[in-house]
Amino acid sequence: MSMWPASDRLNRNSCRTVGDRMGRTLSAWVGVRWATKMERISARITVPSRSGLVNERMVHSHSRLAGMKRRLKSVIAAIVAATAPFATAVALEDPLHSVVWADMKEQFFGAAPVVFDDRIKVIVPRIVENQAQVPITADARALGGVQKLVIFADLNPIQHVATVVPKKASPFIALLMKVEQATPVRAAALLDDGTWHVGGVYLDAAGGGCSAPALARKDADWSDTVGHAQGRMWRDIDGAARVRFRLRHPMDTGLARDNTPAFFIERLDMRAADGQSLAEVELREPVSEDPTITMVLRLPAKDPGLTIIGRDNNGTVYQSVIPAGWKQSGASSRDGG
């Protein structure tokens, strides 16, 4: 099916198994390749559980797990500090204390300079109601000169969520994503001086949502609606165009147990009437089914609408035009209202 490995079952399994949580359950759900990778991560996160001294409730207490991770990290940091007094490079302290931060840094930024910057906001709900549809916002509008805005989640099987090249848009995007478990969610802005500025929050997916999780598309005839697009445009207080857009698509991750191959919208190009590119958005597998995005951009004054050209990884192109209807949003494009 079209969804992430069914999160409800994963949760339930994880409640009943002790230790090796990600590794074992993931190997059942997403196949050996990803499981191996996650086990490597898991080995570092769940060290105490491997000693057999952690019971179910501890494994489930994310805050306590996070606390243990922090303590573990501080112990490691203390050992490193004690044994390497002459080290010259100062390690970047991750404010979210992610055990995989070093991997993330290498994966997304390579050797480029990176700083943590709390002016970059990542907004998530306080409770994850549905792990297949988690609304998140990445907002780097407090910074100037943003060339690129990358969203990623450290502990997702696929970390990269989306990348925005703003051009004539604000470095801001709201979308819905799938999460596998509690994870840091980060937004990284590449500034014109070549520095990456990173902000983020810890998303606790162990909420308490009692609704049916992840009612995945059950229609056998999803292909009848794939590519159907809906949307609307508003004018923010300062005249910028606020665009909300939904494109029907299964967004298959390729990780589901039934071996459905990856099938997802990988690109949305926002264009003016004369074909000028206003913004490019790269979407990846973690973006929820039927991608629904909110962006703020500068549409040329006389343009009758915004053209959005989508493309999925099978090469199908989906073209839409959102008319510039110009309802007032009342929101400020600077702070999102």
């Binding site: 009943r16 009692c210 035009v321």
Partner: protein
Amino acid sequence: MTSGDDKVDVSRRQAIAAFAGIATLPALLAVFDANAAPLVYELRPEPIAPGIWVIRGAQEAIERSNGGAIANITIFDTRDGAVIVDTGPSKRYGLALEALVRQLTGKPVVRAYLTHFHPDHVFGNQAFAANVLSAPRGVIDGLAELGESFASAMYHAAGDWMRGTEVMRPGTECSDGVETIGERRFRLMGLGGHTPSDLALIEETSGILVTGDLTFLDRAPTTPHADLARWRSSLDTLSAIAHARLVPGHGPVEEGARGIAQTRDWLSLVEETIRTAFDRGLSSNEAMAEPLPAWTEKVALARYEFERSVMHFYPKLEAGEWPRVDKAG
């Protein structure tokens, strides 16, 4: 590095590990000990009329700290046996409830009405015989459809409290009308709106009106399966029923109808606030941050449930209200 150095390293590492083990042992044992303590629901029945008690749920979300015991449970003593409304969030709760009822009344539970299919109300079912459990057809079918998903969510949220809990379907289908048990007369009303099928009842000899989650009081209503128009219509029905006291699904038992009014106000507030945010083009996250009026400050979980409601209603609005903009459309 020579092999000699390696040996030194290994022994040093072992020494460090041994030391670390000794140093952390008390802490680890303490953790182990605390978690080894058995989980016990402390059920405190409050008498609300002669032979009638309510066990109040915590005005909280489902968490490990409360074991999911957040919903009100009502107990009626009759000469032919005890009657309860809803069974609680887990097998463990159901068993504790069954024992409590025997202690209070000296009789077994001969009828357990289920107000709707949400897990905090029906996952104690295993403590009772199937034919004792009675619910409208919609509740039975809904539980069959979504019970497993609810169980997963409950295991996730409440953890070990849920141990051994399985979905159990009621064996008795009830319909509108009066069921007489002993000296008591239970008038059953199949309504809906909080979920597709909600049961409310009034025990006519005492005037106790039990609404299930059609009413919440001083705790924000939940909307994952709500149909707001139908919910309002059910509230109209309840408003017309003369009663001595009203037992809401969550919140205190009172004489008047404050639960009905407050639930109605909340539904209007949520619908209008979300609708306005949607019409202004706000994203889900922006809508969740919209201000709520001052009166909601006295309502437990107001912001929490409002955020959940945004996640329930926004996708429907987006799918239902936005015009098609693709070339094919």
